[in-house]
Amino acid sequence: MSRELKGWKDIPIAGVCWKPATEYLTGDWKTFKPIHDPEKCTKCLLCSLICPDSAIKWNQANEELMFDYDFCKGCGICANECPADAIKMVREGEG
């Protein structure tokens, strides 16, 4: 939480968000992070579809999967569902 914090007179009432969700980096509290193995990956894109935070994106240019760790909460659904076993969950700082 390094961003500048405002006082009560300077923020909207009722918790109304004054920034888009993309500016809140919700990925900074994960314990486990997904590590993707391109060798095993069949590029079925199931992980991208089921990610609850839309944190796995398909890069059309180089035909690669991109994991956005700023928004990945580390829930592990992708690793659990991957039919090719191409995603491993690793403790933060160990992977």
């Binding site: 009560w8 009432i13 009722a14 918790g15 109304v16 968000c17 004054w18 920034k19």
Partner: protein, 408 residues
């Protein structure tokens, strides 16, 4: 503005509430029935069935849902009303905080009824007093006329752009809710003109531009999301600020209403009765004030300098008004129609003593818990309280600071 033509109707307190809501051009009413509030919603549902109002009337499966529906409608910019009592209000507890936190100006009538167990349907103030910290403005009415007037005023106060807080208008079960009284009512169009249309302020939205503070698909905003240690405290501080602004708005709306109705209740926050030169005084809320005024009249005839302070608003607590009107009083008895078990006295006692701590006269302040579960509070008991105060005045000593009036 001039005082307008009014009709006198013989109606009870619940019917007075229903009529005031009907005239206030309310968009959404969501409610669940509970004695002694039932008549309010029954009467209002008749207005709906007879096509006398254009209100969206939602029958929910619980009070928790009723208030949630009101909160959601209010968040969309609708004028909303609900009513409850006792266990129903207790079931709303969680959503009371969500409503005030979302700054949704819902107006709710509370017909004050005891809480179980043992089960009891009659009057005391336990149900609303326990919700005093929920961020709602609380107005306690002395009679059905004041109930009618307060409901109309409540929409203006709650929806005021500097306030945006929900309001409970409290009336005593059965004593007011089910008792016929002559109530002066304004014409429909007079009330509609007084309450006007609900407006919403502009807030900074997530696209970095000002948008109306309401849920609207063309200008989407998020209300009441996850708010941790970084901003939750700031939002609670904002709610306190709204409570600080509220007394002035309550007084302004009360004054403006008096110009069309000819009726005033003290200054809108407190109703001081013969306090200017009083040596002894009682403090209470609700219908007991009516009985107490007759006792004060009797004592005054006997030359006793007795007075009464009725709090019309308990939230926000009119602290400076309390200190000012009580500045010459030497002994005070606070009458609480609810108890804070183990807290040494009732909630009003705690706050009056707290208010008077910095008073230069530093009066004796004692407490009487009375009327729990609808136990009657006749003039004789109130007279005895004033006699106790005379004794304190004479001896300058308090024998017992917290007592129970009317218990066997």
């Amino acid at each position: 503005m001039a005082i307008t033509q009014q009709k006198t109707l013989a109606i009870n307190g619940d019917e007075a509430v229903a009529l005031a809501v009907k005239q206030s051009d309310v968009d959404v009413v969501a409610a669940y029935p509970i004695t002694p509030q039932t008549i309010i919603v029954e009467r209002f549902s008749e207005y709906v069935a007879d096509g006398e109002v254009e209100t969206e009337f939602v029958c929910t499966e619980s009070e928790h849902s009723a208030l949630t529906a009101c909160l959601a409608a209010s968040a969309m910019g609708a004028r909303t009303f609900t009513a409850s009592a006792s266990a129903g209000l207790a079931l709303m507890h969680e959503i009371l905080y969500v409503t005030s936190g979302c700054r949704a100006p819902v107006v709710m009538a509370i017909v004050n009824r005891a809480l179980s167990a043992p089960i009891n349907i009659h009057c005391d103030h336990s149900d609303s007093m326990v919700e005093r910290d929920s961020g709602w403005i609380q107005i306690y009415a002395e009679n059905s006329q004041e109930t009618y007037d307060s409901i109309i005023q409540a929409f203006r106060i709650a929806e005021h752009l500097k306030v945006l807080l929900p309001i409970m208008v409290c009336l005593d079960a059965f004593v007011l809710s089910h008792t016929l009284e002559n109530v002066q009512v304004l014409a429909d169009e007079t009330v509609q003109k007084f309450v006007g249309l609900r407006d919403v302020p502009q807030v900074m939205g997530h696209e970095g531009r000002e948008v109306p503070f309401k849920l609207d698909p063309s200008n989407p905003i998020t209300m009441g999301p996850l708010d941790l240690y970084d901003y939750y405290f700031e939002h609670k501080r904002q709610q306190e600020e709204a409570m600080k602004v509220a007394p002035q708005i309550i007084q302004e709306v009360h004054e403006e209403f008096s110009q069309i109705s000819g009726r005033k209740y003290g200054n809108g926050l407190i109703d001081a009765y013969h306090l200017e030169d009083a040596d002894i005084a009682t403090v209470c809320v609700g219908s007991t004030a009516g009985t107490t005024k007759t006792v004060v009249d009797r004592l005054r005839k006997e030359g006793v300098k007795a007075g009464l302070l009725r709090l019309r608003t308990f939230r926000p607590l009119p602290l400076t008004d309390i200190v000012k009107t009580m500045e010459n009083v030497k002994a005070v008895a606070v009458m609480d129609r609810s108890n804070s078990f183990g807290g040494h006295g009732g909630p009003i006692y705690h706050e009056i003593r707290h208010s008077l701590y910095d008073s230069p006269t530093h009066p004796h302040v004692v407490n009487y818990i009375y009327g729990l579960g609808g136990r009657d509070m006749p003039p004789a008991i109130i007279l005895n309280i004033y006699k106790d105060l005379q004794e304190i005045l004479k001896t300058k000593r308090v024998k017992r600071d917290v007592q129970f009036a009317g218990v066997r």
